[in-house]
Amino acid sequence: MSQVSLVRQILDHANRANPYPLYAELLKTPVVHDGEYGPYVISSYWDIESLLHDPRISSDSANLAAAGPDAMPQAEDDTGLPPSFIRLDPAEHDRLRRITNSAFGPPNKPHRVYDMQPEMHRIVNELIDGFGDARQIDLVDQFAYPFPVTVICRMLGVPREDEPHFRDLVDPIVAGLDPATRLAGGAEFQKKWQEARTQLGMYLAGLVEERKKHPRDDMLSDLANSHGPDGSMSTMEVLATSVLLLIAGHETTVNLITNGMLTLLRHPEIFQRLREDPELSIKIVEELLRYEPPVQIVPQRTNITDIEVRGVTIPKGSMLWLVIAAGNRDPERFADPDRFDPDRQDIEHLGFGSGIHSCFGAPLARLETQIALSELARRLENPRLVDDPPPYRENAVLRGPRHLNIAIDGVR
């Protein structure tokens, strides 16, 4: 009888609701080589942290394509869109990320995220008002998905009413981030994935053209018309970046909010504290990013030279999977790691990654989730989980509930 490898078990949807015992098992062997052509799986905090800062580790899709059969499809080139900066190395990565940041954060746009606060409160409360007098809600469909989508649309300048259209395109792209789906889907899946990316790019191209002529106060306008010390982006670079921002700008936040509500309903005393003190949401969100990170695995890295991790030599050109959800619960790093404790002083989690690819949208995701959770705590009357565990989405990398049914006595 062949034993199913730990890595395959982690990818198996049957274990999606609670992969943490598997991660704990994984932590016993800091470097796992999963099969002859499989990835090297790294799970301990310090090792992941080191590799995320290691200049011998590449995120470049071209290097990855060479790394093995399960690396990300090389199809990006075939779509006509260049890789977004998440799939590039310095110096190109740095240039594109800097230009993008000049439209998003300090020093050029220090207020872009902060100034969205009133708007976020308004959107959140409209969605909660929309629950009406229902006694049961699906938090994902009625709240955790529409909220970040609305925010990222507003920020980029994408019409909110186009959401049903681009959602059909986003879904296969996101599915493509899951190694299991890619392996199972084969050439047909790859084709679908390519088409979706091309179409999403074409959709955004129309908007970018329009913003070039008539700039507004949104990120698409800023990206299309950037003229900083790094020069400007080509149209194709603007499109690749916009696709990235649109998708990364909401797919992960949905899970963070949903995981957050699920965790809080499992810890009613903390939920009660949040109801009394909305400021606690800041600490709750940080602890959530450690305890239930929305991105569980970073599977898109390869080493450009032989490297040694804990005495194991990983040959040049291997696939590396960094299991950040395991690292976040590494007892070598965090005391009592399986306890959800927003009062933790020591909370340098890997939830947003680290190093040059650390989450670009982190300030936005933090603020969105803080507002979402504190307002839900304030307004929902006596919320209870209907299913525990809830049904989970297929994806093992971007892990989160597909639905989260919550019974309520009403909204305040």
Binding site: S50, H53, D54, D94, S358
Partner: protein, 463 residues
């Protein structure tokens, strides 16, 4: 017996902290966080509660923050008796008393010295007293300098192109003022980072319109009949007219008040063991006097057990915390302070960070990015291992190099890295000035030698 003493000390002992700045404050917070319930006295010669200094030469000078708004955030209530605006003037380690400038005395059971450093003044007292001559270390210094710059100064002369001087020059240029910088060495920052990096810093200053004069010293500051500074005389016999002079010649450790106390304290600071306990002048460790922050110097195993004095923000925090912990725990629970030296600067739009001890090195290798783009990571090597690293606008990689230093990784770096350009393939001389010549001081001082060495070696002379 000893355990009883620690119990008693934690319950009702008296702890005095001399120096109410970063290291002192973090130590006080740590004492309380770890359960110290006795009386705590904070002594500071400035009239202010602890404030943060890095912004004074950056955000404050740029007008982006008020000098009154750099108070350090307090992590918890420390329930201390504050003796602010009163300097410590003497120490009796036998009677366990600190003498104060107002004639008062503070008794202690355990003492932490965190008196830091002060700006080295212009050596000619009469010239230093001219109106318009400034140093920049304290909040009051920053207020005075800001006021003068805001009152229509057109030309500023900065003496010394170390980090502080370069930051001042950067802020003044941003305000559109004419700036002249004089540096004894061959470029800015060479004392701390060597000539290769100094050349990059030099280009940066020239490109930003600084009138940079290297290989010169200032011979005199000249005042007008009203006692206001009007010109600076240089060793190359040139004269530069100016409205303001900022003297940025490094710092002096505040140990004068310890003269005669019997502690091993001098111009290089207070020698301590790795657990922050001060040595007396015979080299015997005390058990009730501790030192932390800029004023302390302690042996570091990663750097040959040389005694390091570190004028680094992060070191002040970490050393304050370690000292506080060790002050109130049983001997077996003490922990060593083994902080990795690290500092940052911000000037002319560039973020500069460094880890390790660059002046220990003799070679440098650019491992990522490019010097000409001023966006790079470089590592410093000494005797076949990496001892330091520096980044310009590339700080997110620094952590990797820190691990390399911790692991004693070999130098030169043989493997490929992301973004390594042709100039990075070879190590080159790091080009530090001869340490026997006075130059603008590095913020790291190497002093002392390995206890394992059988020879007397003069360090840091590695030429």
């Amino acid at each position: 017996m000893a355990a009883d003493y620690v119990d008693w000390l934690r319950r009702e002992g008296r702890i005095a902290i001399v120096g109410a700045s970063l290291a002192g404050l973090r130590a006080a917070e740590t004492l309380r966080a770890e359960g110290f319930a006795g009386s705590l006295t904070m002594i500071g010669d400035e009239p202010y509660e602890p404030y943060d200094r890095p912004p004074l030469s950056k955000a404050v000078l740029l007008g982006k923050a008020s000098p009154d708004h750099t108070d350090l955030p307090q992590r918890r209530d420390i329930d201390a008796k504050w003796r602010l605006g009163v300097a410590a003037t003497g120490l009796d380690i036998t009677a366990k008393r600190v003498r104060l400038s107002d004639g008062d005395e503070v008794e202690y059971d355990r003492l932490l010295i965190a008196t830091g450093v002060r700006a080295r003044p212009w050596p000619n007292e009469a010239e230093a007293g001219l109106d318009g001559v400034f140093v920049l270390r304290t909040r009051d210094d920053a207020v005075g300098l800001c006021r003068r710059l805001g009152a229509g100064a057109r030309r500023v002369f900065v003496v010394g192109a170390g980090f502080a001087g370069s930051e001042v020059a950067s802020a003044c240029r941003e305000h559109g003022m004419e700036v002249t910088v004089a540096e004894r060495a061959g470029g800015p920052l060479v004392g701390a980072l060597g000539g290769v990096i100094g050349a990059v810093a030099m280009d940066l200053q020239l490109e930003n319109g600084v009138d940079l004069r290297t290989h010169v010293t200032v011979t005199a500051l000249e005042g007008d009949s009203g006692g206001k500074v009007r010109a600076v005389h240089l060793s190359d016999e040139s004269v530069v007219e100016t409205d303001v002079v900022v003297v940025s010649l490094g710092s002096i450790r505040n140990t004068d008040w310890l003269a005669g106390s019997g502690l091993g304290a001098g111009p290089r600071g207070i020698a301590t063991d790795a657990g922050c306990r001060a040595f007396d002048f015979r080299g015997i460790v005390t058990d009730d006097v501790f030192a932390a922050g800029d004023v302390a110097r302690s042996p570091h195993p990663l750097f040959g057990y040389q005694f390091l004095s570190l004028e680094h923000w992060g070191n002040a925090v970490a050393q304050g915390e370690t000292a506080a912990h060790n002050m109130i725990c049983p001997a077996t629970d003490r922990r060593p302070h083994m902080w990795m030296p690290a500092f940052w600067s911000s000037q002319f739009g560039v973020n500069i960070k460094s880890v390790g001890v660059p002046p220990m090195a003799d070679e440098i290798m650019i491992t990522q990015g490019s010097l000409t783009e001023r966006r790079f990571a470089g590592v410093y090597g000494y005797k076949g291992r990496i001892v330091a690293a520096v980044t310009f606008n590339n700080a997110k990689w620094l952590e990797y190099y820190q691990r390399q230093i911790e692991q004693g990784a070999p130098f030169p770096v043989g493997y490929p890295t992301m973004d390594r350009r042709p100039e990075g393939r070879q190590p080159m001389p790091a080009d530090f000035p001869d340490p026997s010549l006075p130059t603008h001081g590095p913020t790291v001082t190497l002093s002392g030698y390995s206890p394992a060495d059988r020879r007397m070696v003069f360090t840091p002379a590695h030429h």
